[in-house]
Symmetry: C2
Subunit: 168 residues, 2 copies
DNA sequence: TCATATTTTCAATTATTTTTGAAAATACAG
DNA sequence: CTGTATTTTCAAAAATAATTGAAAATATGA
């Protein structure tokens, strides 16, 4: 895969931004590469283009496939696997938000619920105050969860226009 | 600061969740501590309660103050500084989103704009296709930026109720 | 089936981030 | 101003996370 200077710069920047978003650098670089590449790429091309090891390329491409941001693509007459990147930014955003919700919000909600359950019994004043705080957090997280779920199943134009109305 | 088992468990969980959200563990633990504590705390109390060093406590409390999730509080007759945690979850969410927008979205938008500017000159076919991709990304990020800005300046009950109504 | 191409795994290495703790800087009371 | 309490800084150490590369596993064509 031959890249122009601009493309190369884009991928490197996407990579360092990625670190700010809880992805590792290579994951974000590979994603950047797929964003600016029209054709399907093999693991070897990824390794070569980004100068990374086979293990690294394999693991991170697999993660991107798991997240639904890159797809496996069959290339006739080729034994190797090829991959092609999702280009629709709305879909990419939704996939990222899904992953984040699963690892940031869902476990938090589970934790608060569990803790509340085991705290409910105790009837000391301190405990009641604590349960009160847990309730507020739970209620809030539940509301956020619902909102995110809606967002994750919504389509782009609907979402933006809803927000436009909200803004007025 | 004496904590109940439940509170302690909450703080430890909040800490390990925090790692999943791009905060360091201590930052999230301190925040958890402030969430479940009504009274103002000094750096010494934080150090002692969480068993962390002075430097660590100081740096992370300062970060929380910068983010607007914890406030400095003056205690009469005390020379040390005391801090008290913001309890309003909506405000906390907005503050977190502001930080994230600043480090995740804003630099991305800046990068894409810069790159587009330096790419505009070249008129090869490849370059045009690349600029086309940059345009899509820019347009999307700009929309996301506007939406987030609206959210960051909106009021809680209004936000949830309007959003829920719209989603029916 | 066998030989080989391809992918996956994972222990060891390397890089990055966080934490410590003591020294330096600052703030304050007398 | 002086001495002490308090906060801040930051180099070194510790902890955590990412990456490599080669061996193992798997898939494929003949």
């Amino acid at each position: 895969m031959k890249l122009s200077d601009g493309q190369y710069k884009f991928i490197m920047s996407w990579g360092s931004l990625g670190s700010q978003w809880g992805m590792n650098k290579t994951l974000a670089q590979i994603h950047g590469l797929f964003l600016v590449t029209e054709e399907a790429l093999s693991t070897d091309e990824i390794m070569e283009t980004l100068k990374i090891s086979r293990g690294n390329a394999n693991m991170n491409v697999r993660t991107l496939v798991d997240w639904g941001m890159v797809y496996k693509e069959l290339v006739a007459g080729e034994r190797k696997e090829f991959f092609i990147g999702e280009k629709d930014m709305w879909l990419i955003l939704k996939r990222i938000m899904k992953v984040r919700k699963e690892r940031e919000l869902d476990p938090m909600l589970r934790m608060v619920k569990d803790l509340k359950a085991s705290e409910q019994n105790q009837k000391t004043e301190e405990s009641e105050q604590f349960v009160e705080r847990l309730n507020e957090i739970e209620q809030f997280a539940t509301q956020a969860d619902k909102t995110l779920s809606t967002l994750l199943s919504s389509d782009e134009s609907w979402f933006w226009s809803t927000f436009m109305k909200l803004m007025k």
